[in-house]
Amino acid sequence: MGSRTEVGVIGSAVFAPRDPGRMSLEEALHAVTKHALHDAGIGIDDIDGIVVAANDQLDGRAISIMAASGSVGGVGRDILSTPSGSEHAFVLASLRVRSGMYRTQLVVSWSPLEVDSISETQRLSNDPYYHRALPLDDLSSHALQANALEAKVPGLRAAAVQVTVTNRRHGALAYPEYAPAPREAVLIAGGKMLRWPITDAMVSQPAFAAVALVLASDEWISGRGNCKTAWVHGLGWATETAYLGDRDLSRLPSLQAAAAQAYQEAGVDAQAPKFDLAEVADATPYQELVALEGLGLCPRAQWVDAAQRDAFGRDGPTPTNLSGGALSFNPVFCTGLMRIAEAANQTRGCAGAHQLPGVKTAVAHGASGFAMQYNTVVVFGQHSRETTQ
């Protein structure tokens, strides 16, 4: 694979918020596409193919890619959709460029919020016979996962509160306009209980966002010159089974599998991975910790101590979610692609107020589904793999 096509992220954009009374979803998708192309310094004519990710139930359309097609420039183009996860859209777009059949790809995902009840919508994902009668939505599944973790790791709740504090601090710097939730430990721990042990202050309210990235091949990038690029060094993605009863919710073997794939591709030592920063799934603070373990960045035995030492803070040894993560800004469904975009922007040196100086490598992790069923890992580098090797 030494001569394979290398893939880089050369542009990205996030569009939020949106007033549904003044701006349609299509207009928001057009805006985010335009901004991402502008960031990449190219036009839609330079785009060879598009991968979008949207969720039919949240969109209220039976084939949600349809509405996006015109807005993201899909007419007359090769456009596919990965409704299983926004992060899967990034994976497929990367594979398409890497195949050598496409020079460029546009990736777009979004999080509409016009559904009457996100919880009821999510419950439709349960099998109709055994689980749909249960009040099982994303948050309930995440709470079950948190319970399973608390049963295994003494003192975990305090660590979860500290992770929330850290991410909210990051979010206040990165996106102060999106991070209105409490930042003080006492308020986070003492919030209204939503699903034990998750309080309302431990999660962020669902928000609208659209996110877009532009990917290109090494040959195309070298032809353009002067592109700020985050090179995709490694990709991994894997799934758990759907039935929660078949899983040990305190473990994520699919994340370990995804990390192993990505690290092998990137030439990262899986026993001692080291990155300048991480952007990981954190619909709850418990998810961030189990993600860091799955990525080999912090075993559970060290969670409590690491959180208390602020190890995941901006100045810590493992800076994590400098964007504030989903704990600060939570566009449901596209949070995975948001994590990937944030890690790419940090690697490109385009992260704005929350840019960490000197980022050469970053790892992104996205998760979708009940209790993190799908897990995706992307390793970014400032230089292409060929240069690195």
């Binding site: 015109g70 899967h88 990709l235």
Partner: protein
């Protein structure tokens, strides 16, 4: 850069029926997977990635229903993603799997799915929900009325008659009678089609596809893997996709972006697939075609988009020359096509599967003699997303 060749080494499909009360949704997927894995001679443990083919999950009544299929396809702790481009999902899923292998990320990829359209109640009620809730959903739009308007436009533009449409049904039913997996296998006549119940003028009951239940799975492998293991294979040599606008209104009236009579984006998808495969003269170089045509009228514009007839000429070429029947110049839908089985999530995959069986020489009673190169297509959304694939022996 030329992409590495990707081969098809295993194919499995259900016998499509109106109901499959004996199998729940994951079991139906598993049925196809078992057949495909058996056909490939490989084990599920060897599969490195699964691309899951599932169109609107509203047809199943389960949101994100691919999650429930993870174990059915043996994907636990493996690479897994779902594709949905509506009716073209099956061919889009194969294109995604092709990218997995062409990118060098995997050597062996399973593509699988199933649908229970026959058990969803009324698919048209669900499919009305594909349209924009503000502008077009309140109209009596379903996929039938949508393509009835295309038929009217095609009639006006090219002079197609209802008898021409019926001739497609008669041809495809005759083909399906030879295909044990087809849902509708009873031969019919022009007279019977013409006297079937009118649904949306000029589309009558027999002009329309059935609501089918069943699954399909295919195993794709890299050329290296196939050579290394001494496997039999046929090859995907061309892949192309393109799309039209979302709003039906954009294809009608003054200043339309694409004529609703034709399948402009399908033509672009086929051209891209042909270019990749080095096909320059489809009439001479394509031995048979499996073209996604859920209504009799749409087979005509699909034939033309695939370059097998000039625009507006395919009705005459079928009527006067029998060009598109088995034994004709370019047999189209020798399996019976979508008109004889439509389990939406996998229908476009079945098109590629049938094209592959043809060039493999394994199509049984509906084999087109000497077929070496075939094209398959898929349509999705409101006649919006189109995929095409060239398959060669």
């Amino acid at each position: 850069m030329k992409a590495p060749r990707v081969g098809i080494i295993g194919i499995g499909q259900s016998q499509f029926k109106a109901r499959r009360s004996d199998a729940n949704y994951p079991e139906l997927v598993r049925e196809a997977v078992t057949l495909a894995m058996g056909d490939s001679g490989r084990s599920l443990d060897e599969i490195e990635a699964v691309v899951y083919s599932l169109a609107p999950d509203a047809l199943l009544g389960i949101g994100n229903a691919e999650r429930l299929g993870v174990d059915a396809v043996g994907a636990r702790n493996k690479r897994f993603m779902r594709i949905n481009t509506g009716g073209s999902t099956g061919i889009s899923s194969l294109a995604a799997a092709h990218s997995h292998i062409a990118a060098g990320a995997c050597e062996l990829v399973l593509v699988a799915g199933a649908d229970k359209v026959g058990e969803c109640g009324d698919s048209q009620t669900i499919l009305n929900k594909i349209w924009d809730p503000t502008y077009e959903r309140s109209l009596p739009l379903g996929t039938i009325t949508m393509l009835a308007m295309s038929a009217i436009r095609y009639m006006h533009k090219y002079g197609m008659t209802q008898e021409d449409m019926a001739r497609i049904v008669v041809k495809n039913r005759a083909h399906a009678a030879l295909n044990p997996n087809a849902h509708l296998r009873a031969p019919t006549s022009i007279d019977e089609v013409m006297h079937s119940r009118m649904i949306a003028w000029p589309i009558k009951l027999f002009d329309a596809c059935p609501q089918s239940s069943g699954g399909c799975a295919m195993v794709l492998a890299s050329e290296d893997y196939i050579r290394r293991n001494g496997l039999e294979a046929v090859w995907i040599t061309g892949v192309g996709h393109s799309s039209e606008s979302y709003y039906i209104g954009d294809r009608m009236g003054i200043g339309y972006s694409a004529d609703h009579a034709d399948a402009q984006a399908l033509g672009e998808a086929c051209s891209r697939a042909y270019k990749m495969a080095g096909v320059t003269d489809p009439v001479r170089q394509i031995d048979t075609a499996e073209l996604y045509s859920p209504f009799s009228n749409t087979e005509f514009h699909a034939i033309e988009a695939a370059g097998l007839a000039p625009l507006g000429q395919s009705p005459r070429m079928l009527r006067e020359e029998g060009c598109f029947q088995i034994g004709g110049r370019n047999p189209v839908n020798p399996s019976g096509g979508v008109l004889c089985a439509n389990a939406i999530a996998v229908t476009a995959m079945v098109r590629v599967a049938e094209a592959a069986l043809q060039v493999w020489g394994r199509a049984g009673a509906h084999q087109v003699k000497g077929a070496q190169r075939a094209i398959a297509s898929g349509n999705g959304g409101d006649h919006q997303f189109f995929g095409a694939m060239v398959v060669e022996a």
